[in-house]
Symmetry: C2
Subunit: 134 residues, 2 copies
């Protein structure tokens, strides 16, 4: 599913490697990768819940991640597990329960989540104010 | 199905509004709003380009936001403009050129973009290393 990267082409052409371009390409690729991994409606919300609230069972997440369907939650959790951001543990209870928690690597997302929350809170205030003015 | 203690219930039941829960609800809503506004594959990449590289014409963006189609770019730019994150200027040239730039409000996304880039760069290193090991 890898798409061609035209910017890289520019850089690999001899005589076209400017430092500024290379830095920008690094940024663009970094953003693209992060968005690919975390993008979509749900993943950040799931990570936020596990990061800020701790371990959760599947049914807890289904309730707490507002509006998500069971099938979608299952798919998103699997993606996050494959990418080592969360850990899945099957507990030997009757009936069996499955618990999800953030990994050490997943915890590296905390600054990002905090910045997102900060921005989101300000954005929300702004929307609310605009809404009241209308 | 054993119902564990529901946070939502705790919040909506009178006398059960804990500060920690209320804070969490604020966070969840903030994250949801931000993801709704900035989510998807393209918006963060467009904002990143305008934020880090400055003013861009439509055709520049079409080239620099790798893989985006003209129709999609047009739609995404419109969304961002409606949300006051970018500004569209029609220049009186022949033929007419349309320029996009980040607004002051859009600049408030800079810390978020920087954290995203930082994380993305580290994540990319990690992937590359894993890829080389296999």
């Amino acid at each position: 599913m890898n798409e061609p990267i035209s910017i890289e082409k520019e850089i690999t052409e001899p005589g076209h490697v400017h430092d500024c371009c290379q830095n920008h390409t690094q940024r663009v690729l970094a953003i693209r990768d992060a968005v690919e991994l975390l993008g979509g409606k749900w993943k950040i919300q799931i990570i936020g819940t596990l990061l800020f609230r701790g371990k959760r069972r599947f049914m807890d997440l289904l309730r707490e991640v507002d509006g998500i369907a069971a099938k979608m939650l299952s798919k998103e959790l699997q993606d996050l597990e494959v990418n080592q951001l969360i850990k899945r543990t099957v507990l030997n209870t009757k009936p069996v329960t499955v618990e999800y928690e953030i990994t050490e690597y997943g915890k590296s997302l905390e600054p990002l989540l905090r910045t997102l929350v900060d921005w989101g809170v300000e954005h929300r205030k702004r929307i609310m104010t605009r809404g009241n003015q209308n």
